[in-house]
Symmetry: C2
Subunit: 182 residues, 2 copies
């Protein structure tokens, strides 16, 4: 469980990273940056910070902020309500992202070095390295995880409706909800 | 009809505007920036420049570039294939945008001054002024148009599937297709 002070510090760092990348947000967005430590209490290594720009029944767009080396751990978006599940495109705006996606040939020498890997919680082994301006679309119901490079990263996410409460994680210790929002 | 030289010049200007805003694009994206003069041959005043990042059956994301004072003329996205039509959110990244949307009370003293307005081709009279970091979601099948301020603008568009060929325009002289892409 993060303290209010830790949440505020994470928001300040995320806002500074967005400002450095020239990405404008409103004061209301800044004040409610979502800080997701996924219940692990190790935000520096595992979790992410994000702003949800829009999330309707049909479309969702977010800006994700990753601190240097921070990892969004392996998860997938299952079918729901007669849909195939969330389809999402990650477009890197700043920094470098090592995206791992289920399927395909394993990358022999991946650049990502996530925390807690010894727990076997990362099974997707195809690595796609994304630089600013590069993107990848993850199909629904497909395991994936990603880690930023040494300078952190900003990622725009374009997707169908986001239902975080339905996300499934490989690591049984992870709890997507609660998150820290105002 | 724009000449190849005019299209290239528009691409160069759009790429420069994106670079000024700190938005990274790939060389392939740069080379295929869509230049839409809508068949009017007056790109300086009417039309837009855009990059389609992704456009699947479910989700679409684009970056729009407007030259100073350039207007994307009034249009709407009708229902198709059993869907309500395209739903889109415009989020301004740089510059100012005067967005006009059908419905609501007309804005008494709008800031937008589009070209060819005397032709009666702008009927949506509620003006929403969007600065960087601000956004608005236009429902499907709703007339809208927008003009940039004196410094031009960059706008991220998050939407359901884009089917430009189905767009309907108030101005009968407009032809959405052909567009200039490689």
């Amino acid at each position: 469980m993060l303290t209010a002070i830790q949440v505020q510090a994470a928001r300040d760092r995320a806002a500074a990273a967005l400002a450095d990348a020239g990405i404008e947000i409103t004061p209301a967005e800044r004040a409610s940056i979502e800080v997701a430590d996924l219940g692990l209490g190790d935000l520096e290594h595992i979790g992410l910070e994000l702003i949800v720009y829009v999330n309707t029944d049909r479309v969702c767009a977010k800006e994700l902020v990753l601190f240097p080396g921070q990892t969004c751990p392996e998860h997938w978006h299952p079918p729901f309500d007669g849909t195939p599940g969330k389809e999402e495109t990650f477009r890197v705006r700043a920094g470098v992202v090592y995206l791992h996606v289920e399927g395909g040939d394993p990358t022999p020498h991946p650049l990502a070095k996530p925390a807690r890997a010894e727990r076997g919680i990362y099974t997707a082994k195809r690595e796609i390295v994304l630089h600013p301006g590069e993107q990848f679309t993850v199909p629904p119901n497909t395991k994936h995880w990603f880690q930023s490079g040494p300078d952190g990263a900003i990622v725009s996410e374009f997707s169908t409706q986001s239902r975080d409460d339905l996300d499934l994680f490989t690591d049984p210790e992870i709890v997507r909800i609660p998150v820290y929002t105002d």
